[in-house]
C-alpha cells in the first residue's frame, strides 16, 4: 500500500484529495471494476468517461461506499476510508449527487437540504443547518422553491437540489453521477455553470459524463474506462487524440466529436 504524501510547501493545488489504489470489484463471475488507480488533486475537476458497462457507476459506488471493493484501497484526504461506511465517508468530506435524482419526496426543498447540512458534519445545530440550507438554496438558484415539495420540481431543479444537498454536507470532494443526463442543452449549460461554481468554492469534483462537450468544458483531467479498467488518462485533448480511446469508447471519430 502506497502512503499518500504531499509536502506542505507545495501549493494547495497539489494536495491529493482522493486516491484510488488498484480498486477492484467482482460480482460473481463479473469483474466490474479491475485494478483502477488514479489520483485527484485539490480543486481539480476530474471526469470519468467510458462506454456503457465500462464500470463507471460501479467505480462511483466504490468511492462513495455503496460497495466494498474486492481489492484495493481508497484514501480520502490522506485517510484510508476503504472499510468505512457511507456516512463515515460523508463525515470525512465526500459528497455525492445521484444520477437518478433522489429527493426525499415528502420534504420541502429546504428540508431536503437541511438534512445534508445537519448530518454531513458533526456539531452542526439545527438552526445553523436551516440557515445554511437557505444560503445554499440561494447559491444554487432554488431560492424561489424553498417551501415547495421536492416532487414538484422540474428535472433541472431536482438536479440543482441534488447538488445543493450534497454541498450542504460541506464536502471536500463531490462525486457527480451524470448530472447532465436528461437535460436540454440550455439546461446543461446552466448545470455546467453550477459545477464551475462548486469548483470555485474550493470543492474538488469527480464526475461521470456521457456528453462530450460537457467533459471538454469542465474537466481538468479525464480518466477513460473500458471493461472495468482504466484505458487512458490525461487532458481532454490527450485522451480524445488517443486511438485506443477512439476505438474503444465510441468506435468512430465522428461519435467522439459529436
Amino acid at each position: 500500500m502506497t502512503a499518500v504524501s504531499f509536502q506542505p510547501s507545495v501549493a494547495s493545488q497539489q494536495e491529493v484529495v482522493l486516491r484510488a489504489d488498484g480498486l477492484s470489484k467482482r460480482f460473481g463471475g463479473l469483474l466490474a471494476v479491475q485494478n483502477v488507480t488514479f489520483t485527484q488533486y485539490s480543486g481539480e475537476i476530474l471526469a470519468v468517461i467510458g462506454p456503457n458497462g465500462a464500470g463507471k457507476t460501479t467505480l462511483l459506488n466504490l468511492l462513495s461506499g455503496v460497495y466494498r471493493p474486492t481489492a484495493g484501497r481508497l484514501h480520502l484526504l490522506g485517510r484510508d476510508v476503504t472499510g468505512e461506511s457511507m456516512e463515515a465517508r460523508c463525515h470525512a468530506g465526500l459528497g455525492r449527487a445521484f444520477q437518478i435524482v433522489r429527493p426525499f419526496p415528502e420534504m420541502t426543498v429546504h428540508e431536503n437540504v437541511t438534512v445534508g447540512a445537519l448530518f454531513g458534519k458533526a456539531g452542526v445545530s439545527l438552526p445553523e443547518a436551516r440557515e445554511r440550507a437557505y444560503d445554499l438554496l440561494e447559491r444554487t438558484g432554488l431560492a424561489a422553491h424553498a417551501e415547495k415539495a421536492a416532487h414538484e420540481l422540474t428535472l433541472l431543479q431536482d438536479k440543482r437540489l441534488e447538488v445543493a444537498r450534497a454541498l450542504a454536507t460541506q464536502p471536500r470532494v463531490l462525486l457527480l453521477d451524470e448530472v447532465m443526463a436528461g437535460l436540454r442543452p440550455a439546461e446543461a449549460q446552466e448545470a455546467v455553470q453550477l459545477v464551475r461554481s462548486v469548483q470555485g468554492s474550493g470543492v474538488s469534483v469527480l464526475f461521470i459524463e456521457h456528453i462530450m462537450p460537457v467533459v471538454r468544458d469542465l474537466a481538468d483531467r479525464v480518466v477513460v474506462m473500458d471493461q472495468g479498467q482504466v484505458l487512458a488518462e490525461g487532458t481532454y485533448r490527450e485522451v480524445t487524440a488517443n486511438p485506443q480511446v477512439v476505438a474503444a469508447y465510441l468506435g468512430t471519430e465522428e461519435g467522439l466529436h459529436a
Binding site: 462513495s64 455503496v66 461506511s85 457511507m86 456516512e87 460523508c90 463525515h91 455525492r96 445521484f98 433522489r102 426525499f104 419526496p105 415528502e106 420534504m107 420541502t108 429546504h110 428540508e111 437541511t114 438534512v115 445534508g116 445537519l118 448530518f119 454531513g120 458534519k121 439545527l126 436551516r130 440557515e131 437557505y134 438554496l137 440561494e138 447559491r139 444554487t140 438558484g141 432554488l142 431560492a143 424561489a144 424553498a146 417551501e147 415547495k148 415539495a149 444537498r165 450534497a166 450542504a168 454536507t169 446552466e190 455553470q193 453550477l194 464551475r196 461554481s197 470555485g200
Partner: protein, 325 residues
C-alpha cells in the same frame, strides 16, 4: 467568472413551525383534563373507563407512530405493551408503582434494542414479519416461565394502580399521554425528526448525507417501546389481571397502526385524534348495532382511509407541506 445562480432571488426564511400549531393539541388536552369533572350523570363510571382506555389507546398509537416515522412499520407493539404490563405485574409486587412503572418501561426499551439490532437491515414486509415473529417469541417465553413467576398461560394478578381509584388512574393516564405527546413534540423540534424522515424516505440517500442510520433507528425503537410499555402498565394496573394470549395479541399490534393511519401518520395530534374517534365510534357501534358492529367499524375505517389518505389530520391541515406537528 460570472455565475448565473448569484443573480437569483433571496429566500424568505421561515421558522420551523409556529406556536399556533400547538393550539389543537392544547384543546385536546384541555378537554381531556376537564372530562372527569363534567356532569356525566349516572353513567359517569362507565364513561370514565372508556375515556381511560381511550388515553391508553392514544399512548399506544402515538408511540407506534414515533417508530413509524423512522420508516420502521412494526407489528411488535404488543410485545412492548405486554412487557410493560408483565413488568409492572411483577415489579409492582416488590416496589411502589412510581418506581415499577418506569423500570418496566426501561426493560421494554432495552429489549426493543435487541429487536431493533436484529431487524436493522430489513425493510417493509420483511421487517413487519420479523417484528410479528418477535412478539410471538416474547409471548411464548412469558407463557413458559414457571407459573410461580409469570402465571404461565393462565395469566396473573396485577397490583391495582393507585388503589383502584378510577379518577386517579384516569389522571395518571392523562399524565402519561401528555408525557408521550411532549416527547413527540421534542422529537419534532430536534434533529431526530430530520433523521427519522430522511431514513424513512430514502435510507441509502440518508447515509450518503451522513445520517447515522443505525443510531437513529435504535433510538426510535427505544423511545417508542418505552412509551408503549407505559401504556401497558396502565392497562395492567387497571384490569387487575393479565394473560399472555390477550396481552400479546395481534390486535394490540394492529390497533396502533390503524389508529395512526386513521388519525394521520407522522404527527403528534393525529394518532391521539384517531384513538379518540375510533374508541368512541367503536363504543357507540357496540351499543347500537350489537352484532356485527365490527363490520360497520371496519367499513368506516376503510372508507376513511380511502377518502382521507392523510387521515383526520388531512382535514385540519391548511398548508400542504412543512410546519405540521
Amino acid at each position: 467568472m460570472s455565475r448565473a445562480m448569484e443573480t437569483s432571488r433571496t429566500v424568505t426564511r421561515r421558522p420551523d413551525f409556529t406556536a399556533r400549531a400547538l393550539v389543537p393539541l392544547g384543546l385536546f388536552f384541555g378537554l381531556a383534563l376537564v372530562f372527569p369533572f363534567l356532569p356525566l350523570g349516572t353513567r359517569a363510571e362507565y364513561l370514565l373507563q372508556i375515556a381511560f382506555f381511550t388515553l391508553v389507546a392514544a399512548i399506544l398509537a402515538l408511540s407506534w407512530d414515533i417508530l413509524a416515522r423512522s420508516g420502521q412499520v412494526s407489528l411488535a407493539h404488543a410485545a412492548f405493551y405486554g412487557l410493560g404490563a408483565y413488568g409492572f405485574a411483577l415489579l409492582g409486587k416488590v416496589m411502589p408503582w412510581f418506581a415499577a412503572m418506569p423500570l418496566a418501561a426501561l426493560i421494554a426499551g432495552l429489549v426493543s434494542l435487541i429487536l431493533g439490532a436484529v431487524t436493522l437491515r430489513l425493510s417493509g414486509m420483511y421487517f413487519a414479519i420479523a417484528t410479528l415473529a418477535f412478539t410471538e417469541v416474547v409471548r411464548t417465553i412469558i407463557q413458559n416461565l414457571p407459573e410461580s413467576v409469570a402465571g404461565g398461560a393462565n395469566g396473573l394478578l396485577v397490583p391495582a394502580l393507585l388503589g383502584g381509584n378510577a379518577r386517579a388512574q384516569y389522571f395518571l393516564a392523562f399524565g402519561v399521554l401528555l408525557f408521550t405527546a411532549l416527547v413527540s413534540l421534542a422529537i419534532r423540534r430536534s434533529r431526530l425528526h430530520h433523521a427519522f424522515a430522511a431514513i424513512r424516505q430514502g435510507e441509502e440517500t440518508a447515509r450518503v448525507l451522513g445520517v447515522s442510520v443505525v443510531r437513529y433507528k435504535l433510538a426510535a425503537f427505544f423511545i417508542s417501546s418505552f412509551l408503549a410499555a407505559l401504556g401497558g402498565v396502565l392497562f395492567a394496573g387497571k384490569t387487575f389481571f393479565i394473560n399472555p394470549l390477550e396481552t400479546f395479541s395481534l390486535a394490540n399490534s394492529i390497533a396502533p397502526l390503524t389508529t395512526s393511519i386513521f388519525g394521520g401518520l407522522y404527527t403528534t395530534l393525529g394518532p391521539m385524534l384517531g384513538a379518540t374517534v375510533l374508541r368512541v365510534a367503536e363504543e357507540l357501534l357496540h351499543n347500537s348495532v350489537k352484532n356485527g358492529y365490527l363490520v360497520v367499524y371496519g367499513l368506516v375505517l376503510m372508507l376513511t382511509i380511502l377518502w382521507l389518505p392523510r387521515g383526520l389530520m388531512g382535514l385540519l391541515r391548511r398548508g400542504k407541506h412543512g410546519g405540521e406537528l
